[in-house]
Every structure is written in structure tokens, then in C-alpha cells.
Symmetry: C3
Subunit: 100 residues, 3 copies
């Protein structure tokens, strides 16, 4: 079975940021995403154990180039001000050509 | 801590396909799965930005052999007709012998 | 974009265990987690196809040392008695220093 190695970016953030982050990843070149509702609790910069309540968990499969752009935007525009978690992994995707 | 490297297959598809896909992965040899409700938006073949609404996100941990069978079935029976995302990664599982 | 390789632990278990497992991973050194509601079906030890109903899916990003402690606790205190799935993967995290 032919699969294509691509970047999976997972973003977890406060529900209030959902539309803005969707727009940001689209502008960076993401062509699709999946969202699930989530609850989170985490350390935000200096404070540990801060509850940040209703969150969303977004996944998008993209090329390395688009991944770099998304991580850059998140880091520049969101990480200093909001409780955002973002991580990257490599996955092998069926019909990977749809995503790039 | 002893862990076993196994295949994690993640499938995202329209809610209406849930029972059929569960049956398909069971027939292919999957012995368990986890499902979360999801919302998705993606490119389906030629169209970008098509909304496909209520989705599910299914995860199953399987051997390489079962993974190949699942990816083959999805590719053959679903990918041409439905908005399905499927990707494979390797994870290290506690008590991996339960899954194979 | 600078990212840090860290351990992502995913735990899927019966909803009734949620508070106990959150306490256990915190005690092991986890500084944050994300939870989504899930439905699961799996083999629990000898029985295949046992339905175990309402579950949760927890993710936490931790150092290797904390990951080892969490897997040890799960293995010792939960795996013999409960339908728990736990797996480990490596992800590249933005602002990874927050998690360790």
C-alpha cells in the first residue's frame, strides 16, 4: 500500500481562538483539518496547573513547508499571549497527494 | 518499561460511514478501536474547502500486516467515493501483545 | 522553527478512572494534559470484542523520565484490572521547555 510521509500538526488551544487559528492555518496553506472538542489543563509560561477550560484539538496534514509556516505563525502571534500547545509528527498518509 | 512498537492507524470519515468502517477494520483483523466525534473540513479530490460536517475519528492499534489490510480496504472501497482521511504512524504500546 | 523532541503519551480508559489517572500522571510529573471524550471497544486481556462504553482519551507531553514513570504506574496499578490503552510516541513541540 503506497503511503506518503507528511507532517501532522496538532494544535490545542482555547475554544475562543478556533476561528482565528483555522484562518491562520488556511492562510499558511493547509487544505483541510479535523477538530475535536477537548478539555485541557496546563502550564502557561510561568504558572503551573492553571485551568484553561474548554479547548479544541485541531489536526492538519501538510507538507514540511506549510508546517514550518504554521509553526512560525503560531509561535509569533499566539504563544506569548495564549495557552496554545502545538506539536509536529510525521505520519504516512494514504493518497498523500491530496494534501500538498 | 517494556513497550512494543505497533502501527497506529487513524481514520477520519463522515459519521454515516462509522458502522461500515468499524466492520471493515474488524474483518481486517483489528481487535479494538477508539472513536471520538469530530468536525472536518477538507479537500476531497479536486475540490478544496468542501465542508463535510459531522465526522468521526477512529484509532486502532494493529500489527503491520493488519495495517496493510486496513489501508488496502480503505483505499479500494472508500477513497474514490468518500471524504476519508487515513494515516499510519508507529507507536510504542504497553502490553502490546493484546493487540496482535 | 525551533522545536523540541518530547514524549507524547496517549491513554484511553473508562471514564470512571479519569480523576485517578489525572492524579497519577500529575504525581509522576506531568505538567499538563488534554482530554477528549471517546467511545471504545477492545480486547481486555482474554476477551475480544468486549464493549467498554464511555471512555476518555488523555494526551500529555512529557520528558522521557516522566514518561517512564507514567508507564510504570499505569502498568503496575491499572493494566491488570482495567481496560486501559497506553502508548508513547515522539513529537516535536513548539516551546518544549514549558513541558519539562
Amino acid at each position: 500500500m503506497k503511503t506518503t510521509p507528511l507532517c501532522l500538526i496538532t494544535i490545542i488551544a482555547e475554544a475562543i481562538l478556533k476561528e482565528r487559528i483555522i484562518t491562520a492555518i488556511r492562510d499558511a496553506g493547509s487544505r483541510g483539518h479535523t477538530i475535536t472538542d477537548a478539555q485541557g489543563e496546563g502550564s502557561r509560561q510561568r504558572r503551573v496547573g492553571e485551568i484553561f477550560g474548554e479547548n479544541f484539538r485541531l489536526e492538519t496534514i501538510v507538507s514540511q513547508e506549510v508546517a514550518d509556516r504554521i509553526l512560525h505563525v503560531l509561535s509569533t502571534d499566539y504563544f506569548d499571549r495564549y495557552a496554545v500547545v502545538a506539536y509536529l509528527s510525521t505520519v504516512n498518509v494514504i493518497r498523500g497527494e491530496k494534501y500538498v
